[in-house]
């Protein structure tokens, strides 16, 4: 893989992490209100998937979508200002955390109805197919969404008409407090998808390289006319479902296990130059070692100092975003009415 892509993905992951940790802080201060679903732990999915997409591909996401927007390239300022409910936010303060839109970057929304991303993505893909364009729609969904009717209806239609959709399931093992073994009779999501004649694979969603690789190949298959594809990314969220959720239903050892498998730490190890000591190797466990060694063989290198610099860099971006959000103007009710009615501004209604 190109060094540049590698660096960009690591930087994206660091930005997502710093952004979300800061959002949590701003939530405690009361600058952000309402439901706030944070992404730490799952960054490798957004970074791996979206960095494999082209600028003309579409992204449709759910309510845990700040990271998706950031990786897609929406300035952190606009994402943060939206969380603050300001007129300068990406949805002009009208959507908030769960409804972020950036059509210019083909970021077609954050939707808070579980499962809703599926038919909307399929509809965009239908339009793409009708026009015969080489674009793909990437549809994010959670493991909980897999039990919605819209999920099954959408897979069926996408497969029936061979629509260019890449479904990406962010399987973080939980739908709020209900663990996947308690909400799905078949807990392997990809197996359920296979019933619709859609190629589906399960990959390690904590490993950005694997996510990126799988996405690239899936997108190629779609562009070659292979119809919809499905990737199940096994991942984990380090925080509760939302800021309202302390996440006490999860055993501490489970959280710890996944934190030791931190996708950011893994990505840093992937790009770091330094050889680990035998003690360090023993501590991170055998999978990480393998990941690391494989990658060194590929010959990609990055110095630890570069990582530090990257971290400082994204922190500056996040600080600036908060300042921007704080200083931005509030939206007015007139502007809200205008957004509601903008589509028929030039129409005589009666």
């Amino acid at each position: 893989m190109e060094r540049e892509t590698l660096h960009r993905m690591l930087r994206d992951m660091l930005l997502c992490r710093a952004f979300e940790e800061r959002a949590a802080e701003e939530y405690s201060k009361g600058n952000i209100v309402g439901f706030l679903h944070l992404y730490p732990g799952e960054e490798a999915v957004a970074a791996g998937v979206i960095n494999a997409a082209g600028p003309s591909d579409y992204i449709v996401s759910n309510y845990r979508e700040h990271g998706h927007a950031l990786v897609r390239g929406t300035p952190a300022r606009e994402v943060m200002a939206e969380l603050f409910g300001k007129a300068t936010g990406m949805s002009r303060g009208m959507g908030g955390s769960m409804h972020m839109f950036d059509p210019e970057r083909r970021f077609m929304g954050g939707y808070a109805i579980v499962g809703q991303t599926c038919p909307i993505a399929v509809g965009i893909a239908y339009a793409v197919a009708m026009r015969g364009l080489p674009e793909v729609v990437i549809c994010f969904l959670g493991d909980g969404a897999v039990n919605q009717g819209t999920f099954h209806e959408s897979l069926n239609m996408a497969s029936l008409w061979r629509l260019p959709v890449l479904f990406v399931c962010e399987n973080n093992h939980y739908a709020i407090g209900t663990e996947i073994h308690r909400h799905s009779a078949v807990p392997e999501v990809f197996k359920r998808v296979a019933a619709y004649n859609i190629p589906a694979e399960k990959i390690d969603g904590m490993d950005v390289l694997k996510v990126h690789e799988a996405t690239k190949h899936a997108l190629e298959r779609i562009r070659r006319g292979g119809g919809p594809q499905f990737i199940e990314c096994e991942t984990y969220r380090y925080r509760g479902h939302s800021m309202a959720d302390p996440g006490t239903y999860r055993p501490a050892v489970e959280l710890k296990a996944y934190q030791s498998w931190d996708p950011i730490a893994a990505a840093i190890r992937d790009v770091e130059f330094k050889y680990p000591t035998p003690e360090e190797l023993a501590e991170v466990g055998s999978d990480n070692v393998k990941l690391f060694v494989d990658h060194l063989i590929d010959g990609e290198h990055l110095a630890a100092a570069d990582v530090e610099e990257m971290k400082q860099d994204v922190q500056k971006i996040v600080d600036d975003a908060v300042q921007f959000a704080l200083q931005s103007a509030k939206p007015t009710m007139d502007s809200a009415m205008d957004y509601l009615n903008h589509a028929h501004r030039h129409e005589v209604l009666m």
């Binding site: 077609m108 038919p119 909307i120 509809g123 009708m130 819209t150 209806e153 957004y339 009666m350």
Partner: protein, 333 residues
Amino acid sequence: MSQELLYWQALNRAMDHEMAADDSVFTLGEDVGLYGGSYRVTEGLYAKYGEWRVRDTPISENGFTGLGVGAALVGMRPVVEIMTINFMLLALDSIVNGAAKIPLMSGGRLKVPLVVRVPGGIARQLAAQHAQRLEHTLMNVPGLRIAVPSTPQDAYWQLRQAIASDDPIILLEHELLYFTKGPVDFAAEAPPMHRAIVRRQGRDVTIVSYSRHAVLAQDAASELAKEGIEAAVIDLRSLKPVDWDTCAASVEKTHRLLVVEEDCRFAGAGAEISAALTERCFYSLDAPVQRLAGLDIPTPYNGALEAASIPQIADIVAAARQLCQAASESKAA
């Protein structure tokens, strides 16, 4: 030049004209293609425009309506047909949480030029799960527009206008109107989509109605005329927005208002219409506004009970007569 067409034919011509004029118009729904549509509205279009533009869908109302929303976000003009309004309950999420909210939620960055066509109302003994109205539910959804054509001409005009508009629009078509006939002039200039039309002028009472009951109200007005009662009949043509000015102008002339609907009475469409017009016209009224509506009951299968569950022409005549008498008596007293 006008020609006599059935209501479904007028809708069919509107679809054909819009699809011929604009490649981004396409339609989808259960049995709209090869089969030709449950009420024949899409007849012949599959052969003419092909399967991508006339798409037969699986029985997945929420899924394919959501598909329409997604396609609309990227500049297509989908016309979703939901086989009947009863099944629209399954698609309400895509309509209410999707189509209606995206323009605002996106801060005006996205439009949803979607049309959802739905046959509905009380037809002939289809029983509770196939005979109902949802206008009250849809009227309460900010962001939607609702047209309720009662004539072939309006069906033609309003479907074309709905397709041309950039807003999400619901077209409520009445199942008993599909085979009614009327003149349709393709070339005539259409009134704005949401303007009410005074179907009959009158001096004694204003009857406001919509869809099939606007037709029944005109029949009732003819009966009333034989008794010397001149009823004005207003066909709303639209339930969201409502053309209050046209209604108020008539009420200010007749001083009496009767609202007739097929919707269930409790919190039905008529509740909003009479409340809004009472607020606006209170000092012009000689009597309290009266509502004639469906009973608050799931539609019974039995034909006599079904008929008794919604206003009939005789009920409209009786209610208007009583309203005129009550008003003149209270004036005399």
